[in-house]
Symmetry: C2
């Protein structure tokens, strides 16, 4: 992969990377589209990274649609798909791990110990293996995006990290490969997550800037939905992921499925 | 730096990196010489990395001879010297750290908590900032060499890590920038370190393969030197740095100066 990427750049191409765990949806494809606009060669990595899953999490049942993914990526005109095996990425004896202190510690960092260490380690490996000019991540995983930006700067990777807007269903639900876990009733209930963000953004737009009151509005919407259980709901600064701030970040369980979403309340909610 | 290095490679050059903390001696220059043989462009980094020093260590008095270093490197024909400031390497808010588990944990890892995290982090940054084809390290810092090899593989850096033989004074003392700390009596006493390795290597060559007896021989030589205090003396495997093995690794205090050295007892001691 590195040889190919270096040959491309030697020939004057620019290289964009879209890291994914497969099970591609329109959210991923919007990253691919943006990468194709910005670069002459686009590489999409498809790798369900075991290092970023906790022992009680859904690694074993994470959705996999490899043939469909390849078809989608072929149609989108990407130059290469990088699909390493777990044994290639983590051969016996591999012991190096990357930690991003600070921004990786609260919220998802607390809820999923080891998650961001897994993300940081695999992203650094992908950056080294592909040496892209730019890499694309979704705003849907806002804290991951902040962690990757920090990592890219701190380790002198020379990679420009581009964050692209969340893609949503008609009712507002943020696209996620994990939406596939939802039953029909759960799918309806999951709309409460974006509804909560929308309600708080509307209040903010109408002049309510008290962060604790905005947070309570978010919680009220979610607590009205019997199938939803709030893991966390916080209003944080978009760089540190600590309060206070206008970035509303949510982790919510709908049945057994844990979903995350976020929105900067100082911006109108889309749609 | 990255732009220059990428331009060189675009033009068909190969790039060798010799990371140093300055205060250059013949040991460093042997790495530079080897790098110049293997590559068409050689970069030497000079950076006293605060991250790899403990709070009670010698960061503030680490020897610095920048003008002499530059003169030496100019004469040696290196293509670039990379001399970042501490503020460039670790700007406010930089929080990313790299840990190499396993090989970095015993011996120096125990004696100097955080040392190898500092080494791993700065080496990854240098590899990213320069993207060398090859990087050169001395066998004198044997455990560091093993940690860097592990890191280079684990993070898919594509960098070939080349380990070069220890350069020694006439009496066997391994060259080290820290030898400058030694007073005249201490300098004489420091020869006990290599003498201990030589005696055990001679015994091994004469048929003594009992590792515990070989270790006691090493200790006997050091304990006969009143100015020497043994920090550790172990016979370890050269990949894991855990016993058993024939790599004799030593950390010894001569007065206030802590020196390390090592030798594979299965090989004749040089000189």
């Amino acid at each position: 992969m590195l040889e190919t990427s270096r040959r491309w750049r030697r020939e004057g191409d620019s290289v964009g990377l879209v890291p994914t765990m497969g099970a591609l949806h329109a959210g991923h494809m919007s990253l691919v589209e943006r990468a194709c606009q910005d670069n002459t060669k686009v590489v999409v990595s498809v790798f369900v990274n075991p290092l970023q899953f906790g022992p009680a999490e859904d690694l074993d049942r994470y959705p996999a649609t490899p043939q469909r993914d390849l078809d989608l990526l072929r149609s989108a005109g990407v130059a290469a798909v990088y699909m390493p095996s777990a044994e290639t990425m983590y051969p016996a004896g591999a012991t190096t791990r990357i930690q991003v202190h600070g921004v990786a510690e609260p919220l998802e960092g607390e809820a999923r110990p080891g998650h961001f260490e897994g993300v940081a380690t695999v992203v650094a490996k992908l950056f080294n293996a592909i040496e892209p000019d730019r890499a694309y991540f979704g705003q849907k995983d806002a804290q991951q995006a902040a962690v990757v930006k920090r990592l890219a700067r701190d380790l002198d990777t020379g990679v420009e990290v581009c964050i692209c807007p969340t893609v949503r269903e008609a009712d507002g639900l943020a696209l996620s490969s994990r939406n596939a876990y939802l039953g029909p009733e759960e799918r309806k209930a999951a709309a409460s997550i974006s509804a909560a963000l929308r309600r708080a953004a509307n209040s903010y737009g109408a002049g309510e800037h008290d962060l604790e009151r905005l947070r309570r509005e978010v919680l009220e919407v979610l607590e009205a939905e019997p199938l939803a259980r709030v893991d966390y709901a916080a209003l944080v600064d978009a760089e540190t992921f600590r309060p206070p701030g206008t970035l509303a970040v949510l982790a919510v369980r709908i049945g057994k499925t844990r979903l995350i979403d976020n929105h900067d309340l100082a911006q109108p909610f889309p749609g």
